[in-house]
Symmetry: C2
Subunit: 320 residues, 2 copies
């Protein structure tokens, strides 16, 4: 089958990759659409020392598995867990000590014709949700994780820093809460996209940080984002950190201590809430699609995903 | 009067410093004992661009002020606040937007014969608490702030990183909660001091970080402390950050995001709890006193405080 592989930092589109081995408790899924995320680009640059098939955002159809799933459209949680360790026992399975992570950590991903995944990771996609919407479930769930970790009320003063792929999803999730929301970014087109959605947008050059935001969600994906967030958040406020490349070099954490700020690391989130939001059309994801490439043009697609003026780049792996 | 001043990074013992000007709502306090803290040493090295009389840990006697306070022994909160700004109105007066901070930020400190302080910052010292104990109220309150910000139960697995002046106070406060406590440090004498108090102590070279601590309190005062704390804390665990020089250079915050760790900045704490603990003899502070110097030997005292084998260095400013 076709697959996009990473090995020793080299990314390649392979046409004769072996079919996935389907183990006990797993289903084989034919991938329709896959999404390229900043993490994929970091992995190509060496993050996680990943060796295997890239990709973790997908929607597809179950080819083999239990009858109740066969031929059904599904999305897939990325953490493949043991259900036995202390974290799994504590209800924190996403932090399983023995987990592998699809397309990120010791498990083949979805930039391929087919993928084998644990049956319990699958969620059925309602008919009301198209493939183009469903492929956003994984990052949209990560956006919902922000409100799962950090209570947002209507009076909460929140800023999203970095209106990129993830930031625009986070902003929409927050906007639903009716909080006092602003988005801070650099790219005029992305800021305009926020304004069109009724979300106040500020260019970072026009920002005067005043230590007055209750919550700042840091989605820049840039090392300097945390420093800006620290200048924006109020004393005893909260920064939700989504960027894995945040800090360090030059960022002074004294401000975090002096202002007794809470810094919350935030990663994967709840799939059911994301699916429900898409079914209700509560979040617009279609306008975030910059371009869809066929899987055969995966190298061009990855290059396009690295262009900061683009938002989501999709890979069309197979017809629905 | 005598005073230890900092100006343009130069520290000096001045013998003819002007008497403090006592403004409306302030009392004049004759200082008995003052404590030297890591922050004082940072200030000498340029932190906060401080210009004035150094020192913020003290016990003394009210010389002038309202009759109910006159001739009484007092300790003094360090944040001098406006009671009008949004932070004061929100009950977060320690984060007052317009605050000055005694011996730290635009307000003269206590390494002197006398100091003028806001009356509302003063707390009476019970007879059961000696001067040598009362001088620890400010850092002990900062230790109590850890448990004020972060719930500690008997089943909570907590490590204190850095058994220095502050870390040994934090460890004792935590030990009272009956939690599963370990202290991690480098100095054998300080680790032995923990063991004598019945607190398990581990040399940092013998530490095998396993991402298994519910809470890590980072009190090293060293930039590398946060990195060690991140390797010790469990997924979804909490790091309480006390060191204002923590991070950055080389510390990878990806781990904070991947493990969804909460990083809590922690600063000043509740004086009443600290005074109560000292009156009940629930916390031993006397064994933390390495040496007491007369105010006239302030330069030698500051040098001694910079020696990592010493714990608390006190300045005897005036007889009780």
């Amino acid at each position: 089958m076709r697959a996009v592989t990473v090995r020793n930092g080299n990314v390649a589109l392979v046409h004769d990759h072996p079919e996935p081995e389907v183990r006990e408790g797993e289903c084989l899924v034919r991938v329709h659409l896959a999404g390229i995320c900043a993490t994929d680009l970091h992995i190509i640059n060496g993050y996680m020392n990943f060796d295997g098939v890239l990709g973790h955002e997908m929607v597809g159809t179950v080819v083999s598995g239990p009858s109740e799933l066969r031929d059904k459209r599904v999305v897939c949680e990325i953490n493949c867990v043991c259900r036995k360790c202390d974290m799994c026992s504590a209800g924190l399975a996403n932090h399983c000590r023995n987990r592998t992570v699809i397309g990120i950590d010791r498990r083949d991903g979805c930039f391929a014709d087919q993928i084998a995944v644990p049956q319990r990771n699958l969620h059925l996609v309602p008919d009301a949700v198209s493939d183009e919407e469903a492929v956003f479930v994984e990052p949209l769930a990560a956006a919902y994780q922000v409100v799962a970790q950090c209570p947002i009320e209507s009076h909460t003063n929140v800023s999203v820093l970095g209106p990129g792929r993830l930031g625009l999803l986070v902003a929409q999730v927050l906007a639903q809460r009716g909080c006092k929301l602003t988005v801070v970014g650099r790219n005029p087109a992305k800021l305009e996209m926020c304004e069109k959605k009724g979300i106040q947008a500020i260019h970072v050059d026009d920002l005067v940080p005043r230590h007055d935001r209750d919550v700042v969600v840091e989605c820049t994906g840039a090392p300097e984002g945390l420093g800006i967030a620290l200048a924006m958040v109020r004393p005893r406020g909260t920064i939700v950190l989504k960027s894995t490349c945040a800090g360090p070099g030059g960022i002074n954490l004294a401000s975090l201590v002096i202002h007794e700020v809470t810094l919350l690391g935030s990663r994967c989130g709840p799939f059911p809430e994301a699916l429900d939001a898409l079914a209700r059309k509560a979040v617009d994801v279609r306008s975030l699609i910059s371009r869809t490439f066929p899987l055969d043009q995966a190298p061009e697609a990855l290059e396009a995903a690295g262009n900061p003026s683009n938002l989501k780049i999709l890979l069309k792996c197979n017809a629905r």
